[in-house]
Amino acid sequence: METKFQRVAKVSEFEEELKPKLVEVDGTSIGVYKVRGKYYAYENVCDHRGGPVCEGSVMGLVQCKVSANGRRLGDYVSDDKVALVCPWHGVEYDIETGVCFANRDLSLRRFDVKVEGEEIMVDLAREII
């Protein structure tokens, strides 16, 4: 398949992890993220109701501690899972896969990303399923 990578950002713009950069590529709004050293690019459209998901919070997944018998003990923010949270309805996606945590039938359009030197590049023709 022919690749069509386009420059969208510089590596130096992602010194702070989880801080996204919103870019427009060929008229498509895309959020670019760096998580644990790896880059991700998602279309800025929530699979639930079409909200601007990439304008939402990026944070540890809010989890609930449960007792041995399944009772709720209180909430905590996960150190392991990172969620991209749509600002419209609070639907949460795994930022490393684009798949919704609550309903795996929902997922974000994810595009191939590569790094060449200082340049971060995205290929809209290569959607990662």
């Binding site: 800025n44 459209v45 639930h48 109701r49 079409g50 909200g51 601007p52 304008e55 939402g56 919070s57 944070m59 809010v62 709720r72 909430d75 969620a83 949270v85 600002p87 419209w88 309805h89 609070g90 949460e92 309903n103």
Partner: protein, 377 residues
């Protein structure tokens, strides 16, 4: 809200007559209280007067649990979400509300907004009946002075004190013919059920004025739902359960037969409970018909003549939604509603994008059904 504006442009929604049959304002109680007698004004004089004067609605409720129920109060919820423009607004000024409903909603393709209050939806369980009468009258005056009849985009049913049916009828008589008033409204949380004979003055007055009777669903956290310590549990059940109880009451006591010219709309209960109730009511009616002697047809046939608003349109497969739409005669009796600006709002695309609807059905659900029901010009 760029995505919402884009959705409207991509789908050509600006060329359609879209009516939002249920959206909300945050009541500026400081203004509304000014229209009430001093003894009622004093109820508002607390540090939270613009937030929640209805403390009585929480009597007997565990405050810790209450906080878990209310999304606006839930710390976890606030942290998870980042809303730039869309949020539970603070009490809005009249100017802000005019801008919202005459400008911003138009950007989403919505030409007419039928506006409901927010905090006042709790008033139906307030034990102070005279306060309910005073507040609903003051709210009607606030709406008429600032919006109704002044801006064609803003419409509203008159919110009546359901616990004082004679006073409710007086209010309908007083303002029911005013421009911009398009219905009569109560909430689903009331001390008597809607089929109780005591409610007849409300139905008579609404029928006389040619106004549809609208029941806006409300949350509750008492009885069996008082056991939940999550908003998820309460919100899943409270509105459809209260709507189901009120609709059952109305039908079993024959309200549609007693007021044959009156039209009924159930607001903000979602849709998935309706086929369930139709099937169950019909089944029990077969065995205990004599307890509903006024009925001339199956309960589900009356329910099919009711109108329902679409929000919150439960997220489901198209196959499941198609079944629900078929059961409720959605093409002719479903009204699009956004519930803007509340946390589980819907945009017109939730209807427009459904693949099993014809273009004609979409137009009807998004606006024409409401235009007919509420006599909107």
């Amino acid at each position: 809200m760029d995505n919402a504006v884009r959705q409207a442009e991509e789908r050509g929604l600006h060329d359609m007559f879209i009516v939002d049959a249920d959206c909300h304002l945050m009541e500026p109680f400081s203004v509304i209280a000014g229209k009430m007698e001093k003894r009622f004004r004093d109820i508002f004089f607390s540090p939270t007067m613009d937030q929640d004067p209805f403390f009585s609605s929480r009597i007997g409720v565990d405050e810790r649990k209450f906080k878990a129920y209310d999304p606006a109060m839930n710390i976890r919820y606030k942290n998870r979400r980042k809303r730039t423009e869309l949020t539970y607004p603070k009490p809005q000024t009249a100017e802000e509300l005019v801008d919202l409903f005459t400008s911003r909603m138009l950007d989403f393709g919505i030409k007419r907004s039928i506006v409901f209050p927010t905090k006042m939806l709790d008033i139906g369980m307030d034990p102070r009946a005279d306060f309910e009468v005073a507040l609903t009258n003051a709210y009607a005056d606030f709406m008429l002075e600032n919006f109704l009849g002044r801006y064609p985009e803003i419409l509203s049913p008159v919110f009546v004190p359901a616990n004082s049916p004679d006073k409710a009828a007086e209010l309908i008589e007083r303002v029911g013919a005013e421009k911009g008033i398009v219905g009569v409204m109560v909430t689903s949380m009331t001390r008597a059920l809607a089929g109780d004979d005591s409610w007849d003055p409300i139905y008579e007055a609404a029928e006389k004025k040619g106004l549809p009777f609208c029941m806006h669903c409300a949350n509750f956290n008492s009885g069996i739902l008082g056991g939940f310590d999550s908003f998820l549990g309460v919100h899943t059940l409270a509105r459809p359960i209260s709507a189901a109880a009120q609709v059952t009451s109305m039908i079993v006591s024959g309200v549609p037969e007693r007021f044959p010219r009156l039209k009924f709309a159930i607001i903000e209960g979602g849709l998935s409970w309706i086929p369930w109730l139709m099937q169950r009511l019909d089944s029990v009616y077969l065995m205990r018909r004599e307890e509903a002697p006024l009925l001339k047809k199956l309960p589900s046939e009356y329910m099919k003549e009711f109108y329902y608003t679409s929000q919150p349109l439960e997220y489901a497969s198209n196959e499941d939604l198609q079944y629900v739409f078929h059961k409720i005669n959605a093409e002719n009796h479903l009204l699009f509603a956004s519930d803007y600006p509340h946390w589980d709002f819907d945009l017109p695309s939730v209807i427009y994008d459904l693949p099993f609807l014809s273009e004609d059905a979409k137009r009807k659900i998004l606006g024409e059904n409401a235009r007919k029901l509420f006599k909107i010009s």
